[in-house]
């Protein structure tokens, strides 16, 4: 049953997944080219002084990419299920409703992870050509809250889209916007280091929210 639901989501989303993969890779690839360009036309010392010692986040252009990808995937995956109440097909299957909804979320999160990770790997490999290992670790740790923000955006998008009443959708939208802002308050490298674990736990807890919307959808709230 688990495989069947993953299969369904893959068939539904595979073309979109490919597009998101390409978009993310393109952004990360652009960043790598920009990095190479900067080091080619400037002295390394000057770049290091600006980026490392003054804390300039050179890959800030990618900051909101994971969030946008998460929102887009959440919409593409769940919005069609609310049309003609197609979600009822899954809710009628012989397995628990929460279990069915959870498997859908796992499918989406796996797809997001396979979109994010190659891009992250590309940045890591590219930055290893110009920065020492301890600075690379800083780069990745600074990028992590944005990735967590992307995963959170996906879960909150599912939470909002699956809610059957428009009034609560607006409330959820405002709540989500406020919550997601917390992932993007970095001013310098590793500013989130101390709260990374808490941020990860909070992101994990957001998994429950779409299950609540699915429950409400299944019980006909707003009908």
């Amino acid at each position: 049953m688990f495989k069947s639901l993953l299969y369904k989501e893959w068939i539904k989303l595979r073309i979109y997944w490919l597009l998101l993969f390409i978009v993310n890779l393109a952004f990360c690839g652009f960043l790598c080219l920009r990095l190479r360009h900067v080091f080619r036309i400037n002295e390394a010392m000057a770049v290091w002084s600006n980026w490392i010692f003054k804390g300039y986040l050179f890959y800030r252009i990618c900051e909101y990419v994971p969030l946008l990808l998460g929102v887009v995937l959440g919409c593409l995956q769940f919005f069609p299920e609310t049309l003609s109440k197609r979600l009822r097909l899954v809710l009628h299957l012989p397995l628990g409703e929460s279990r069915a909804a959870s498997i859908h979320l796992v499918a989406g999160l796996l797809m997001l992870a396979t979109v994010y990770l190659p891009g992250l790997a590309l940045i890591a490999v590219s930055s290893s050509l110009y920065f020492p290992p301890d600075f690379q670790a800083n780069l990745l740790l600074t990028y992590t809250p944005w990735l967590l923000g992307g995963l959170a955006a996906y879960l909150l998008t599912a939470f909002t889209v699956l809610e059957p009443t428009w009034r609560l959708r607006v409330v959820y939208l405002l709540f989500s916007a406020a919550l997601l802002r917390l992932f993007f308050l970095e001013d310098f490298y590793n500013s989130y280091l101390r709260i990374m674990l808490s941020l990860t736990i909070c992101t994990s807890l957001l998994f429950v929210f779409p299950l609540l919307s699915t429950y409400r959808f299944g019980k006909g709230y707003g009908s």
Binding site: S84, L89, L95, G220
Partner: protein
Amino acid sequence: MNPVIECRNLVHYFGAKPALKGVSWKVEPGRVCGLLGRNGAGKTTTINILNSFLTPSSGQCLLLGEDAHRLSPAVKARIGYLIEGHVQYGFFNVHQLERFYAPFYEKWDPAIYFHLMDKLDISPKQHVSTMSCGQRSQVALGLVLAQNPDLIIFDDYSMGLDPGYRRLFVEVIRDYAADGKRTILLTSHIIQDLENLIEDCIIYQRGKVLIDMEAKRLMADFRKYSFDTKGDFKDFSDDSRNLRVERGEKRSAIYGFLKPEEARAELGKLGVPAGNNFQQESISLEDMFIALTGKY
């Protein structure tokens, strides 16, 4: 034997508006039951409650002995449900659909599904999104039948179908139910299709059960008597006695569970002159439905 479907005093409101006002009925095992009613009578509300897509304001529904809102996966596997509009996944093709659904049902029989697809000359590679309404309805039907369920609920199976596909649907359902081992509940607005299909008939009127009886008994006992129109009188209806009098320009009619002398007596009580040519007329299930529920 316990009923397969049981509704106990269902009440439901949409805001302040009552949709169901204390509805109770049962479907026994092996029966084909038609749930009929005009638009807004409460049929879809009842179907949604049965499938736990709506929580009633009060009352309870039981499916195969379990509360409809707390069905175990094992019982869910025994219930087939055709959603209104034959909703299915458009991104799947015929083969992929079967591959998706099969693992969920122990009693899954792919032969039933693919036989129906062959009958309609639908290729296994054809996507649902490219199919006509009729083809999609047969795909949805094939998927439900392949589950080999003990209970099937068809929610307005006839929606959007031309007469050919409707006839095919009815024939398939009739053949499937012939062994008496399956229980079927269906709703439809095309009453004439159901005449030779349903064994039990439940008719809703404004959120209440108006009729709940065997279809054969309904066809035998509910009668129409026509007579020449004489004098001035208005149409009359009494839902509590399932009685209706309709005035026509030249011929009028009285409908009800009445023998001829009872019909004459009712007309006398209403002050309606029976007139000449008082005779019983044959009446279809659709005519009965309109007589019972009214035209407006």
